[in-house]
C-alpha cells in the first residue's frame, strides 16, 4: 500500500464508486426524471437537444418555465436516449460512470498534499459518502456529477498551467449547472494553497466566461431566474435569509459527517425556518467560525484540510441562499461537491494516524473498513429509495411525516388518482405543518371544491389571497372558489381586485368576464370587457367595435358598480379615439361620481 501511486489510487477509488452504485441500474425514472427526461421530447434525440440548446432547462409549462439553463446536461440525456432507446438503466449507468470519474478527480486534487494510502482513503470516502445517493441514483442528479467533474478538471488543468483547457472546462461546467460559478474561487483557493502565483490572465478569462454565461442565462431564463423560490425564503431580505440559513448549517455539517438519516428534501418542519437569530443560529455561526478558523490555522501544515473546508464552503455557497434565494432550503444533491471537505479531512487524519502510529496499520485499516462498511450499507439501503416516483413519495412520507412537502406530494398523487378526500386531508396536513406556502392553499382549495367542502375551499382561497395578494393565479383561484361557492359578487370583487393588482393577465381577465356574464351583465358592459380583452390580444379593430357598441347601448344612468369598468373602458376608448369615447367618459364620470 505504501507504494500506491496516485493513478492507481484514483483507479481503485473509481472502481469502488462504480461497484457500490451498480445496484442503481435497477432504478427507473423518479420525480423530476419524468418531466426532464422521460416525457421531454427535447432529450429524445440529439438533434432535438441541439435545437433546444438555447432553451430553458425545464420543459415549457403554462406561461413559462422556471429559470434554469443547462443545455449540456440536456444534451447528455439526449445522448443516453439515443444510445439506449430510453432505457433507464443506461442513464443510471452513465450516472455511475460520472460518479466514478468525479471520485478519481477528487483523488487527483488531493494528490497535491497527500500520498499513498491516504489518497485511497480520500477517494473511498468520496466514493461511499451516503449523501451522494440522491445525485447518483436519481438520473437528474447528473447535473451535480458532471459539474463536479468539469470543475475539478478545470482546477487540475489550471494547476498544470493549461489555462485554455481550464477555461473550456469551466464554460462547459456553467452550461451544465449554475453552481459551477464557484470554479473561479476554487481555482484561486487551490493556487493559493499550492503557493503558486495567481495568473491574472486565467482569472480574467474565467471572469469573461462567467459574465457571458450569466448574460445568456438571464436572457434565456429571463424574469424567471428567481421564480420558484422556496416558500420559506420568499420576500426575505439578505439578512433574514442569513438568519434562516444559519441553523441549517448545523444540518449540513450533520449530513456531511453523520449521513445516516437522509431525506428527499428538507422543508418545514424538518427544518424550522426563522428569520430571528436563535440559539441554533448562534451555534451555526460558531460552527462556521470554528471551521474557517481551523482551515486558516492549518493552511500551511495541512493545506488539504483548508482546501476541503474552504472549498466545501465555497461549493455550497450558490445554494446557501444568502447571496440569492434558490428553490430549496437544503438538498442532499447540492452537497455532492461540498462533500470533498469530508474526503480531504478524513484523508489528512488517515495520513497523520499512519505517520504517528506506524505499527498500528491494521487497527487503522479496521477502523477505515468499519466506516466504509457502514457507509456502504447506508448507500445500498438508500439506492432503492430512488427506484421510482411512487417509492420516493411513499418512503419519504413514511420517513419524514414532519416534511410538509411530503404531504403535498402524496396529496398530489391522491388527487391524480381521483381520491380527493385523501388528497384534501394531505394538503390540509401540509398546511398545518407549514401554513405560509400559498401554493398549498391553491391545491387544498381545489381538493376541497372537488369534495364539495365549501367552508374549507373558501378558507383556503382567502388564506392564499392573504399570503400572496399580488399573485394573479391566487386571485383567479380565489375568484373561482367564490363563484363555485355561489357568492358571485364576492367572486367578481376578487377578480377585480386581482386585475387591479396585476392588470393584463389573460386568465384573470377571462375569469372576470365569465363571472360578469354569469351574473347576467348588460350587453354594453360586456362589450366593454370584451374590448379590453381584445385590445390586450392586439385586436384593435375588435376593441374599437366593442367600445362603439358599448357607447351606443349605454344607458343614461349606469350603476355605480360599473364605475371601474367604465373608467377603464373610457380610458381605452379615449386612447383608441373611438366615436363614442366622449359618451363613455361622461358615463364613467356619472357612475363614479358617488365613489
Amino acid at each position: 500500500m505504501r507504494n500506491l501511486t496516485v493513478g492507481r489510487a484514483a483507479w481503485m477509488a473509481a472502481a469502488v464508486a462504480l461497484v457500490v452504485y451498480l445496484p442503481s441500474l435497477a432504478n427507473s425514472w423518479a420525480l423530476d426524471d419524468i418531466s426532464v427526461i422521460e416525457r421531454n421530447a427535447r432529450v429524445h434525440g440529439i438533434g432535438a437537444a441541439l435545437e433546444a440548446f438555447f432553451a430553458p432547462y425545464w420543459p415549457p409549462v403554462g406561461d413559462g418555465s422556471p429559470g434554469l439553463y443547462r443545455p449540456l446536461i440536456i444534451l447528455s440525456y439526449a445522448v443516453d436516449w439515443t444510445l439506449s432507446g430510453g432505457a433507464p438503466w443506461f442513464s443510471h449507468l452513465m450516472n455511475v460512470l460520472w460518479h466514478a470519474a468525479a471520485t478519481a478527480l477528487v483523488v487527483l486534487v488531493a494528490a497535491a498534499w497527500l500520498g499513498g494510502p491516504a489518497l485511497l482513503v480520500v477517494g473511498v470516502v468520496f466514493a461511499l459518502h451516503p449523501v451522494h445517493v440522491e445525485a447518483v441514483a436519481n438520473v437528474v442528479g447528473r447535473a451535480e456529477l458532471m459539474a463536479t467533474v468539469l470543475v475539478l478538471g478545470a482546477m487540475l488543468a489550471a494547476r498544470r498551467g493549461r489555462d485554455g483547457v481550464a477555461v473550456v472546462l469551466v464554460a462547459a461546467a456553467l452550461l451544465t449547472k449554475e453552481s459551477a460559478i464557484v470554479a473561479l474561487p476554487l481555482i484561486w483557493l487551490d493556487t493559493w494553497l499550492g503557493r503558486r502565483s495567481q495568473r491574472p490572465g486565467l482569472s480574467l478569462a474565467l471572469g469573461v466566461v462567467s459574465l457571458a454565461w450569466l448574460h445568456l442565462w438571464h436572457a434565456i431564463a429571463g424574469a424567471m431566474v428567481l421564480d420558484g423560490v422556496a416558500a420559506p425564503l420568499r420576500n426575505l431580505g439578505a439578512g433574514e435569509r442569513l438568519a434562516t440559513m444559519l441553523p441549517i448549517v448545523l444540518e449540513v455539517v450533520r449530513l456531511l459527517t453523520w449521513p445516516f438519516t437522509l431525506a428527499a428534501d428538507y422543508n418545514p418542519q424538518m427544518i424550522v425556518p426563522t428569520t430571528m437569530l436563535t440559539w441554533a443560529g448562534a451555534l451555526g455561526v460558531a460552527v462556521v467560525t470554528a471551521l474557517l478558523g481551523l482551515a486558516l490555522a492549518l493552511r500551511r501544515t495541512a493545506p488539504a484540510v483548508t482546501c476541503g473546508i474552504v472549498g466545501g464552503a465555497i461549493a455550497w455557497g450558490p445554494t446557501a441562499n444568502v447571496l440569492a434565494p434558490t428553490g430549496i432550503l437544503l438538498a442532499e444533491r447540492t452537497l455532492y461537491l461540498p462533500s470533498i471537505a469530508v474526503a480531504l479531512v478524513t484523508g489528512v487524519i488517515a495520513a497523520r494516524v499512519l505517520e504517528r502510529f506506524p505499527g498500528q496499520g491494521r487497527l487503522a485499516l479496521a477502523g477505515a473498513l468499519l466506516l466504509a462498511g457502514a457507509w456502504t450499507v447506508r448507500v445500498e439501503t438508500r439506492i432503492p429509495f430512488w427506484r421510482d416516483s411512487r417509492t420516493v413519495v411513499i418512503e419519504d412520507y413514511l420517513e419524514h411525516p414532519e416534511n410538509y412537502r411530503a404531504h403535498v406530494r402524496v396529496g398530489f398523487v391522491y388527487a391524480q388518482t381521483g381520491d380527493t378526500v385523501r388528497a384534501l386531508r394531505e394538503y390540509l396536513w401540509a398546511a398545518e405543518l407549514y401554513p405560509l406556502d400559498a401554493v398549498v392553499t391553491v391545491q387544498a382549495g381545489g381538493a376541497a371544491m372537488a369534495t364539495g367542502d365549501t367552508a374549507i375551499a373558501l378558507r383556503e382561497a382567502r388564506r392564499g389571497w392573504t399570503l400572496a395578494p399580488g399573485d394573479p393565479v391566487i386571485a383567479e383561484r380565489l375568484s373561482a372558489t367564490l363563484a363555485w361557492a355561489g357568492d358571485t359578487s364576492a367572486a367578481i370583487a376578487a377578480a377585480a381586485a386581482g386585475r387591479a393588482r396585476r392588470a393584463g393577465v389573460g386568465p384573470l381577465e377571462a375569469r372576470y368576464l365569465e363571472l360578469r356574464r354569469a351574473r347576467g351583465v348588460d350587453p354594453w358592459w360586456e362589450a366593454l370587457l370584451v374590448a379590453r380583452i381584445a385590445w390586450l390580444a392586439g385586436r384593435a379593430r375588435a376593441a374599437v367595435e366593442q367600445l362603439d357598441a358599448a357607447a351606443a347601448q349605454m344607458p343614461g344612468d349606469p350603476t355605480r358598480d360599473s364605475c371601474e369598468d367604465l373608467r377603464e373602458g373610457a380610458e381605452l376608448a379615449r386612447n383608441l379615439q373611438t366615436q363614442g369615447a366622449g359618451r363613455l367618459a361622461a358615463a364613467a364620470r356619472l357612475a363614479c361620481s358617488g365613489n
Binding site: F53, F54, S197, Q198, P200, G201, L204, G207, V208, L211, A212, L214, H215, L216, A219, I220, A537, G538, R539, A540, R541, A543, V544, R574, N575, L576, Q577
Partner: protein, 489 residues
C-alpha cells in the same frame, strides 16, 4: 501580481461587464440602422444573400458594409429564433467593446501616462453613457472599434516587419468593411507609417486594405443601379448620396462642431461665452494631447485625427460617430493637461489646468451617475419600443401574413411581424440637408411597392404626412396608429 498587462485586461473585463449590464429590453431596430443590420444578417443566414430582405422587392444592400451583418449571420445560424437570439448579438457586441478596451488600454502604455491612469481613462471612455447607449443596440461600432484599435496599435509597433504591415492592412480593411468611415483608419495608419519614413509599410498596409475592400467596392459598383430611384437616399450608395448632395454638402460651418457632443458631456451649463471659452480650451488641450501622442504613438494620433476629420465631413450629426473614440479623446485630453501642466510657468496657470480637469471629471461623472442610476442611457430605445410594441401586437393579430407595411422603422416592423415593410419616409439630399418626397409621390411609390398599410409611431412621425385623411385601422391618442393605404385599382 500587478504587472503592466493587468491594467488593460481589467479595463477590458470592466468594459465587457458594463456593456453586458447596459443591454436592455428595447426592440431591435429602434435606431433604424440596428434593425437593418439584423435584417441583413437574417437575409444572409437564410440564404437570401446580401439583400434588403425586409423590403417588398429586395435588392442588394449596397449602403451598409457587410462585415457586421455577416458576423451576426453566423450567430443567427447557430440560434435562429428571433428575437430570442438577440442575446448572442448582445454578447458579441459587448465582447467586441471589451476587446477594444483591452487593445486601446494596452496600446496606451506607449503614451507618457501612468499606466493605471490610461487604463482608467479608456474604461471611463467606453462606459460613458453615450457609449452604453450605442452598445445597448445592435450597431456596428463595437466591432469597428475593436478592428480599428487593433490596426492602430499594431501599426505603432517600432520594428519593421512586412507581415505586420500586411496584418495592419487586413485589420484596417476589415474595419472599412464594418463601417465605411474605416477608410479613415486606412489613411491614419498609412500617415503614421509615413511620418516615420516607413514607405514600404505604408504602401503594404494601404495596398492590403485596398485589396480587402476592393471586392466589396466592385460589388457595390455592380449593384448600385439596382436601388430604386425613390430609395436612393435611404438605401443607395454613398456615391449616390454625394451625387445628390454635391461635394459642397460635405463641408459646412457645422463641421467645426464635431467635438461639441463631447464638450456637452464634460462641461456644465454655463453662459454661452463661458461655455465656448471652456470648449475652446478643452479642444485645444485635446489637440495638444494628440500632438504629444504623435511622438510615441503616431498612428494613434493620425488615425484618431483622420477619423474625427472624416466625421466632421460626414453629412450626418456627429453624435453617434464621435462617441466611440471617446477613450482616445480622454487620453489626448489627459496628455494635453499633462503638457500644459509641465509648461505652465507658475502656480496660477497650473491651478487653472487642474481646475479644468477637475471640472470635466466632476461634470462628466455627475452626468454618468445620473444616467446609470436612472437607466437614462436606454431611455430613448425603451421610449421608442413602447409604441412599436403596440403596433407589432396589432399587426400580428389583425393583418394578413402578406400585408406590406410602410413605416419609419421598416426593418423593425419586418423583423418582429414577419411582414415585408417599406420606408414611409423617402427623401433626397440637397446640400447638407434633406428634402422629403412629397406625400402624393410617396403615396404613389408605396402603392407601386404593394404597401397595404402605413404604420405611425406617434405624433412627429414622418409618416403622419402621408396618412392625413386616411381612415385608421386603429390609432392611439398621442401614440401609434395603423392606416390602410388606399391605392387605386
Amino acid at each position: 501580481m500587478l504587472n503592466r498587462a493587468l491594467g488593460p485586461r481589467l479595463a477590458g473585463l470592466a468594459v465587457f461587464a458594463a456593456a453586458l449590464w447596459a443591454q436592455h429590453d428595447g426592440l431591435i431596430g429602434v435606431f433604424f440602422d440596428d434593425g437593418i443590420y439584423v435584417s441583413l444578417a437574417r437575409s444572409l443566414a437564410t440564404g437570401e444573400g446580401y439583400v434588403n430582405g425586409h423590403l417588398p422587392e429586395p435588392f442588394p444592400a449596397v449602403h451598409y458594409p457587410p462585415l457586421y451583418p455577416w458576423a451576426l449571420s453566423l450567430l443567427w445560424r447557430v440560434w435562429p429564433q428571433f428575437p430570442d437570439n438577440a442575446a448572442v448579438f448582445q454578447l458579441f457586441d459587448a465582447a467586441c467593446l471589451g476587446l477594444a478596451a483591452w487593445l486601446i488600454a494596452a496600446h496606451a502604455r506607449r503614451l507618457p501616462l501612468i499606466p493605471w491612469v490610461s487604463a482608467t481613462l479608456v474604461t471611463a471612455g467606453l462606459v460613458a453613457f453615450p457609449v452604453l447607449t450605442i452598445v445597448g443596440v445592435r450597431f456596428s461600432e463595437p466591432l469597428f472599434l475593436a478592428l480599428a484599435a487593433a490596426a492602430i496599435a499594431l501599426s505603432d509597433r517600432a520594428h519593421r516587419d512586412a507581415r505586420l504591415a500586411v496584418a495592419v492592412g487586413v485589420l484596417a480593411g476589415l474595419a472599412t468593411l464594418t463601417r465605411s468611415i474605416g477608410i479613415a483608419v486606412v489613411l491614419g495608419v498609412a500617415l503614421g507609417y509615413l511620418t516615420r519614413r516607413r514607405w514600404n509599410d505604408a504602401a503594404l498596409s494601404t495596398g492590403t486594405a485596398a485589396l480587402i475592400v476592393l471586392p466589396w467596392t466592385l460589388w457595390v459598383w455592380r449593384h448600385a443601379a439596382a436601388v430604386p430611384e425613390a430609395l436612393a437616399a435611404n438605401y443607395g450608395t454613398y456615391a449616390s448620396e454625394v451625387s445628390q448632395a454635391g461635394l459642397g454638402g460635405l463641408v459646412h460651418v457645422e463641421t467645426l462642431g464635431v467635438l461639441l457632443p463631447v464638450m456637452r458631456l464634460l462641461l456644465p451649463s454655463l453662459s454661452a461665452g463661458l461655455w465656448y471659452t471652456g470648449t475652446m480650451l478643452l479642444v485645444a488641450l485635446i489637440a495638444w494631447g494628440a500632438w504629444s501622442a504623435w511622438r510615441s504613438a503616431p498612428s494613434l494620433a493620425s488615425g484618431a485625427t483622420a477619423y474625427i476629420a472624416m466625421v466632421a465631413l460626414w453629412p450626418y450629426a456627429p453624435d453617434r460617430f464621435i462617441w466611440i473614440v471617446l477613450p482616445w479623446l480622454f487620453l489626448f485630453l489627459a496628455l494635453g493637461l499633462r503638457a500644459a501642466w509641465r509648461v505652465a510657468p507658475h502656480a496660477a496657470p497650473r491651478s487653472a489646468v487642474a481646475a479644468l480637469a477637475a471640472l470635466a471629471i466632476l461634470v462628466g461623472g455627475a452626468r454618468e451617475w445620473q444616467s446609470v442610476t436612472t437607466g437614462g442611457f436606454a431611455a430613448t430605445a425603451r421610449g421608442i419600443s413602447a409604441p412599436m410594441r403596440a403596433l407589432i401586437r396589432v399587426i400580428n393579430a389583425e393583418l394578413p401574413a402578406d400585408a406590406v407595411i410602410a413605416s419609419a422603422d421598416e426593418a423593425l416592423i419586418a423583423l418582429y411581424t414577419g411582414r415585408r415593410a417599406m420606408p414611409a419616409h423617402m427623401f433626397h439630399w440637397a446640400g447638407r440637408s434633406t428634402v422629403n418626397l412629397d406625400p402624393a409621390a410617396t403615396h404613389a411609390v408605396l402603392c407601386h411597392a404593394g404597401v397595404t398599410h402605413v404604420a405611425v409611431t406617434g405624433p412627429g412621425d414622418p409618416a403622419e404626412r402621408i396618412v392625413s385623411g386616411f381612415e385608421p385601422h386603429f390609432r392611439l391618442r398621442d401614440g401609434p396608429g395603423l392606416y390602410r393605404l388606399p391605392c387605386g385599382t
